[in-house]
Each structure stands twice: as C-alpha cells, then as structure tokens.
Amino acid sequence: MTALPLVFIAGVLGSSHCLGMCGPFALTIGSGAADWKANIGRQVIYTVGRVFTYAVFGAVAGAAGLYLQQQVSALVNAAALLAIVAGLFLLYQGLLAARVIRRRTPNASAVPCLAGDFFATFLKSPGLHNVFLAGLFTGMLPCGLVYGFIALAASSGDLVMGAGLMAAFGFGTAPVMILTGCGSSLLSLAARKHIYRVAAWCVIVTGLISIARGTGFIELPGWFTATGCPLCD
C-alpha cells in the first residue's frame, strides 16, 4: 500500500501536466456557474466524474492483471512482469515529459475528431448531471500519464487495489484542477513549466521503483488459480 501516497503525490505534481489539456475544460465548466460557491460545487462534481472514470479504468486494469496472472502464473510471476512493463511505460512517459527523449508524433490533428461533438455538448450544458458526465468523459481522454498509472493498476492484479490506485492519482490532480477551474492562475507559465519538469522526474522515479519491485519478485510463482474472465473468454 506504500504505492498509494506516492501515486497521490505524482497526481498532485502531475496536475501541472493536466492543466495543459484539461485546464480549459475546467474553465469552461466554471463559466456556467452563477457565483464562486456554485463554481466550486461544479468543479468538485466535475472532478468526481473524472475520478470515477479513472477508478473504473483502474478496476478493469486490476481485473485484467489478475486474469493475466491466472493465465501465465505457471511460468512466471505475471504481477512482477506487469510491474516492469508499467514501470517502463511510466519511465518512457516521464522521459518524454522531461524532454530527455523526443518522439515524432503522428499527425493526430489531421484525423477529424468525431468525439468532439459529443464531449463539447456536456461541457457547455447546464445542469449538474451534465457536469458530472463531462468529468466522466474527460477521464476518457487519451493521456500518457493516465496510461502509465493504468499499467501500474494492472500490475496490482487486484480489482480494488487497481481502482484505489487510480482514484488516488485522480484525487491527487484535484486541487490544482479545482483551483484553475475557479479562475485562479496560481502559477505563472514559467512556474508551471518548472513544476512540470519536477513532475516528470517524479513519474520517472515512480517508474524506476515499479521496475525495481518487479525485478525483485520476478521469480516468485503466481498466487492464484481461477477460472477465466467473462470479458476475455
């Protein structure tokens, strides 16, 4: 369980990354509020929606990890392997964010984004249920950092642990996102870039810890035997 506080901290630090993509959404959500109290309410509901999605992803990843452990446990320790894979993924994301390595991105913007119509409607609609749904769908946006932690959740091999891990990450991103949504520009662009770099190194450290844990346990056999997953059969 030592991973949860670390993941929460990674979430807090990583929120400077979130502002790049999701900050404008939080501001849009805030623009529909009558006063600052209503706005805080909307921001909290928006965040809960986001964290709900993360937790579901974490639970699914945890279950998938569990399933993998059942399938390959006779040969290797799947949890350890997943931890190494997750660690490598986080390391890669961290190095990308820290700009140690670079990647030629595919021309994503050339492909028309059909989901935009769907998502934008919830962002701009009044009503708290729409705010919640906007948060729910924000959680589904492609994000390297989220993928990294989903991989970590899979390595937990546990539904509840996976959900908890992703929820911890989601709640870690909450403070800065809520403040941003309330209109506070707490951090200047320069400061944000600085913190972004610190966050990147934090992700790198998380990845390294995960790899170290995985390599430490790689030779242990699996813990469970079970029937197949109804989703994967």
Binding site: A115, F118, P230, L231
Partner: protein, 753 residues
C-alpha cells in the same frame, strides 16, 4: 442543406439516400438509427440547450454501464478469490449478491434509456419491410436480459447484464458517431448554400417601368425594406453594399463594383461590374454600392443549380455502391442463418447461455454498418471537396471512371490555349520605317474590338513609346475583312485586315512582302496586312497563346504515366508548332465525327479516355469519352455532355481532379476491404464462440469509426493537411504544452492561464 429546399429523397439528417420511400411525406425519414438519434440531439440543441435529454440519456447510460462492468468484474474476481476463507464469509456473499441485484437494476435503467429509440427504429424499418441487424440485436439483448434476470432470481451462476448494457451503448454511440461523420462529409455543400444572405434590402418592388436610366433613381435609407431571402421575387430591385453578398441572380441597374464571383464562375480575380452586367447570387460585392434587378428567384439561380447538380451527383448511387448494397442485401439473411446455427450448436454443446452469447456476438460483428457507409461516405466527401475547389462532378461514377483513365485528350482552342491570339511576327516593307507602319496599324486597331486588333494593340504598346493615339476619321469596318480609315480628311485611306481586303483595295505586294505572306501562310498561321497608297506596307502573323499552366499541367500528366493527346480541327501546319512546343502528339484537321473515331481508337490502344474541352463545340467528343471534362463552365453547369465541370479554366484542375478521383477510389477500396475482412474474420471468430459480445460491440464502433475517419480525410483540403503537419511539427518542438485531441486549439489557449 434543408430537405424542404431541395426535393430529393434523402435522409432528413445527413442527406444520404433513404432505402425506401416512407408512406407519408410528413414524417421525417432517416437513413439509419444514428441519424434518428443525431437528429433528436440536434433538435434539442436548438432549444437553447435546456432539454438535451437524448444526449444526457446516452451519457448516463454510459455511466451506469461502467458501474455494471465493475460489478461484473467484482463478481468474476469473487469466483477467483472464493477459495480465500476471508472472502467466502457470509458478509462477502451478501455483498456480492447485492452486486448482482445492483447490476440488474442498473442494466434495467440502461435498457429503458437506450432500448426505446432502437426499438422504434427497428419498428420503422419493419414497416418499410426492411429487416436490419438492429432488430436482431434488440432481440439478442432482450434474450440476454431475460436469461440474466432469471439467473439472479433463481440463484443461477451466470449473468450477462454487462453484455446487454455494452451492446446498447456500443450500438447507440457507434450509430450516432456514424451520423455525425456523414453530416460532416456534406459540410462543403452546406457551406455553399450559406453564402446566400438571409435577407436583402429591397428598394423597389417593380422593375423600372419607364425604362428610364437608373442614375435618376434616388435611393434613401428609409425606402429600403429588409426582405427575407425566400420572399424576394423576380423584378425586385435590391441594394447590395460593399462587403455584402448578392442574394439573387440579377442585372446591375446602377453602380459599379469589383465583384468576386469565384464561387460561381471559378474566376479567381474579381471582375469590374457595372450597369447592365449580369451578377450571380452568392457573389461578393467588394467595393461598390449596387442596385441589382433580380432576374431569377433566389432559390433558382446559378449557385443553387450548382448545389443541386452536386447533390444529385452525390446522391445518385454509383455502380460500386449498388454492388455493395447488393452484397449487404444478402448479408442480413446470411447472418441470420449463421447466428441461428451458432446458437443451436453452442447451446447443444455448452448450454443456452453460451449459445445466446455466441449468436449475439455473430449479430454484432456481422452488422454491415461499415459496409453500408464505405462507398457513399467517400463519394460524398470527395464530391463536396471538389465542389469547394470549383470542380463539379455530375455523378459519382465519374470519380470511378476518372481514376481508371489511361488517356487524356485535350481540345486545343479555348482549352490549352486561352483563345486570344498574340502577334507572333511583324514584318514591315523594307525601306519603310517599321515603327511608323506599326503606329498606323495601332490607330486603326484601337478602333476595333476584333481579337486580332486587340493583339496588334498589345504588340504595339509593348514596342512603341505611345503617349496618345490619333483618332482616325472616316472609319469603316468591313465585316470579315478588316477596317479602313483616314488619318485626316485630306490623307489617303489606310487598310488593316485580311489579304482579301488588300486585294479589294488593289494594294500591290512587293516581292519581299509576297515572300513574307507566303511564309506565314505555309506555317498555317493567321495573317493581317496593313497598307496604303497602293502598296501593302506590313504583315502581322499570329499564334495562339497557351495558358500559363498548360506546359506544367501536361508535363505533370505525362509524368503520371498518362498518354496525352491533342485533338483539334485546326490546320495541320498550324499545329506542328504546338507539337514541337509541348512535345505532345497532335491529331489535326479532325472533323467532329473523326474526333469520335480518334477517341475510340485511343481507348482501344491504351484504355479509358478522358476528353477535356470547353464543352460547347466539342460536346460529342465529351460525350463519347469515358469521362468528359468541360472547362470554364462558369455559371452554366447544365452542360449535359460533360461528366465533370470545371467552373474556372485552370488546366491544373484536370490533374487535381484525377488525383482526387484516385484518392477517392483508394479510400473506397480501403473501406470495402476493411469492412469485408472485419466482418468475415469477425463472423468466423464469433461463430466459433471465441468472441465475447462486449468486444464485438466495441469492434463494431471501431470499424465504423475507421471508415468515417478514412473517408473524412478526403474532405480536407491540401492547405488544411499542410497546416496540420506544421502544427504537428510545432507540437514536437514545444511538447511541454500538450495539445487536446478534442479541441486542438485549447492546448495553446492553456498557455495563457
């Protein structure tokens, strides 16, 4: 495009053809379930966003489905953990029993939310006697639910609530995204119609009865009346201010302005229009205050004829589409048989639950939605993209034929050449000052509008230092021969014109002039002579002027591997120089029927032939060719002989159109290949019981999204693609601020937070 404005039997949402005509024209008709949902969402969005229940319903259904998924996974992991003593306690059992009931409750809500519209659509289709896989999917979902309900209530082990929820969400979301994608492919057409202003300033309701000059017509602001577009009638005088678009086709009665008519005539530079000139609806008045007498109803003008032509082209079913439809028609009964067989086999082997799941997976993965939109989406996107570039395809088949073309034939005059001659050579009588002869020719040419006079004027202005041109007296135009005039009353007559005019006037030719004239005639060039006082004093020869882009366009087509030929009725001697200049085979002195024979011959030798002409004097050749391309159609898009109309006269658009056609057919082939292989492999897997219906639902959405995004790439202009590539470069160089995949611009906006 609104369906009431144009009478074609298309879907009320996306405009694509509807499978069968409805019993009543009052009820809205939709081509698919997605358009029904999307239309409901669009209508609700119109109500100031207060009542967006359809979309909210979909969103909430996704939320409940996520819950059901987690409960299902928890139930599954209970199976895994059951050996653990702590978890097999009574409280754990109670908790997981609660999860089963919660799954039942939440999936019931999902079914109530999403099942209704799907059932309604299936019922509508049944009424039209169309059996769709949607109906079967609904049946499968209901069966899965009944099984799961009885399982929960009777203490059975397996439930399939997550399958029912995921299938409903997958089908609804997938169909809705399809509808939005289809709508986007028609955006180019919609943007054409948006060029018409919603209303116009009407300053008078009848045409000037007395026929008095309009300069005397005083217009005061108070006399103006804003009239909605549909209420404008023929005979109204409308006022168009600078920066406004003209609401209806008409004739300028007062004022002068630079008018940008690119959208209608394809002419990229604005032309100066003044009283008496024709103007078209949608054209932009750049800088003048115009009074225009409306000559055509606002929805009957040139622009709307263009839109109708393009709409007709897009909605007419191409041969490829007909083939795909025929296959899809066999698909549904085939799939039903496979699904029933799968159900029977798996039920006998592993029980009714597995049988049901395998059959449902077959139905989902076999859903021919990707197959159905593979061709029309690509054709819509390409036809719309072409129309915004000033290229009108008259039917979708033209794209297919153009992509298959091997030979491109060009008409010469007016197609490769601008149709305006230029002076090739000017030879003056030896001993006569050449500039004086040219000055005399300029004086006469300045008084004539003939194309040769215009060429002589240009030549003289380029060669002489002209400050003023003396105005001749006793000017006389002799039709078909030339002009005769005097410098002043006491001087002798000067003749400018054909050899026949010189002979009529009894002008003598010196040996050197005779030699020059023979040389010009042997070269097959046109000839104009000038003479006075009994002698011919100079000879002009002319040649046709190639369009600026002719050489590069022909080179491009050559390089792309096409056999390029020029078919012309011109004199062989005259075309020899063209053959040399362009390096292209020219078949000269062809009568119209010989042109047809030449096209047949080329088709026999090389393959499908494209004929490019001006669409007027070479209409038979355009009709004979596999694809006829008419240039410079302008507002006259009704040239029936041409399969493709270029609004402007830019030759480069020929190559561009062929390239677009090839890209379109490549996209169609990719789409069809994808759809067939996806369905084929998917059905095999599902029938073997190797595919869970949840994954089948996800794959169904993914497959349609592939086809949609692949087709939409065609509707993007090259400029857009270039800008997108530049943006991607920019992202790489500044990756610290992520860009948003939903709102690409929001990434940069965030930097100002």
């Amino acid at each position: 495009m609104t369906s009431d404005a144009h009478d074609h039997s298309g879907c009320d949402y996306c405009g694509l053809p509807v499978a069968a005509s409805p019993s009543s024209s009052d009820t809205p008709q939709f081509c698919c379930f997605g358009c029904r949902v999307a239309s409901a969402i669009a209508n609700e969005s119109g109500e100031e966003g207060r009542n967006r229940w359809t979309l909210t319903r979909l969103g909430l259904a996704i939320f409940f489905t996520m819950n059901v998924m987690v409960f299902t996974l928890a139930l599954w992991s209970w199976d895994v953990y059951r050996s653990d003593a702590a978890l097999s306690s009574r409280s754990a059992s109670a908790l997981f029993e609660l999860f089963r009931y919660l799954s039942m409750l939440l999936s019931s809500i999902v079914v109530l939310m999403l099942g209704g519209p799907l059932l309604e659509n299936a019922y509508e289709n049944l009424r039209r006697r169309i059996v769709t896989t949607d109906l079967l999917i609904v049946a499968g979902v209901v069966a899965a639910l009944i099984y799961s309900f009885s399982s929960v209530l009777t203490g059975g082990r397996h439930t399939y609530f997550e399958v029912a929820c995921m299938v409903l969400v997958g089908v609804t979301l997938g169909r809705w995204l399809e509808a939005v994608g289809k709508l986007r492919t028609t955006n180019a057409l919609r943007s054409l119609e948006k060029l018409l202003p919603e209303s116009a300033r009407v300053v008078a309701r009848i045409a000037n009865p007395s026929g008095a000059p309009w300069d005397g017509f005083a217009v005061r602001a108070t006399e103006e009346e804003s009239v909605l577009l549909d209420d404008i009638e023929v005979g109204h005088i409308i006022r168009v201010l600078p920066g406004e678009r003209i609401a209806a086709d008409g004739v300028i009665r007062r004022g002068q302005a630079a008018v940008d008519e690119k959208i209608v005539t394809g002419e990229s530079t604005p032309s100066i229009k003044e009283a008496g000139d024709q103007v078209y609806a949608g054209a932009l008045n750049q800088d003048g205050d115009l009074l225009v007498e409306v000559t055509a109803p606002p929805r009957g003008g040139a622009l709307l004829r263009i839109i109708d032509a393009v709409t007709a082209a897009a909605t007419a079913k191409s041969r490829l589409q007909t083939t795909a439809d025929r296959i899809a028609g066999w698909f549904v009964p085939g799939v039903v048989v496979i699904a029933l067989a799968t159900f029977a086999v798996h039920t006998s082997i592993a029980g009714i639950g597995d049988g049901l799941m395998a059959a449902l997976a077959v139905l989902l993965i076999a859903c021919p939605c990707a197959l159905g939109i593979a061709t029309p989406l690509a054709v819509w996107a390409a036809v719309g993209r072409a129309s915004s570039a000033g290229v009108l395809f008259r039917h979708g088949d033209a794209l297919q034929q153009l992509a298959a073309a091997r030979v491109i034939c060009f008409d010469k005059t007016g197609t490769l050449t601008s149709g305006e001659p230029i002076v090739d050579q000017f030879i003056a009588e030896p001993g006569e000052p050449a500039d004086d002869v040219l000055r005399a020719a300029l004086m006469l040419a300045a008084s004539s509008t003939h194309a040769f006079s215009s060429a002589i004027r240009k030549h003289a202005f380029a060669r002489l230092d002209v400050t003023s041109i003396p105005y001749p007296t006793e000017l006389e135009t002799r039709p078909g021969r030339g002009v005769v005039a005097k410098l002043n009353h006491s001087s002798g007559a000067i003749y400018l014109g054909s050899l026949a005019l010189m002979e009529d006037a009894g002008l003598q030719r010196s040996p050197s002039m005779r030699e020059a004239i023979v040389g010009v005639c042997q070269a097959g060039k046109s000839l104009v002579c000038i003479g006075w006082d009994g002698n011919v004093r100079g000879v002009f020869s002319f040649r046709e002027q190639f369009r600026n882009e002719a050489q590069s366009s022909l080179d491009g087509l050559h390089a792309a591997g096409f056999h390029v030929a020029i078919l012309t009725g011109d004199h062989a001697a005259r075309t020899a120089s063209i053959e040399r200049a362009l390096g292209i085979a020219v078949e000269a002195e062809l009568m119209p029927e010989q042109k047809l024979a030449a096209i047949r011959d080329l088709r026999h030798k090389y393959g499908p032939v494209v004929m490019v002409g001006d669409g007027i004097n070479d209409a038979p050749a355009l009709a004979e060719a596999d694809v006829g391309i008419a240039m410079g159609c302008g507002a006259d898009v009704s040239r029936e002989a041409a399969d493709v109309c270029l609004l402007g006269d830019n030759l480069e658009q020929v190559g561009w159109s062929i390239d677009l056609a090839k890209r379109t057919m490549r996209t169609v082939r990719q789409n069809l290949f994808w759809a067939f292989s996806y369905n084929g492999i998917g059905i095999l897997l599902a029938a073997a019981g190797l595919l869970n219906p949840v994954w089948a639902a996800v794959a169904m959405v993914g497959s349609s999204l592939f086809v949609i995004s692949n087709s939409l790439r065609l509707s993007k202009s090259e400029d857009c693609e270039r800008q997108a590539a530049e943006r991607a470069e920019q992202q790489i160089s500044d990756s610290s601020v992520s860009s948003c995949p939903i709102f690409p611009e929001s990434g940069s906006a965030s930097s100002t937070l």
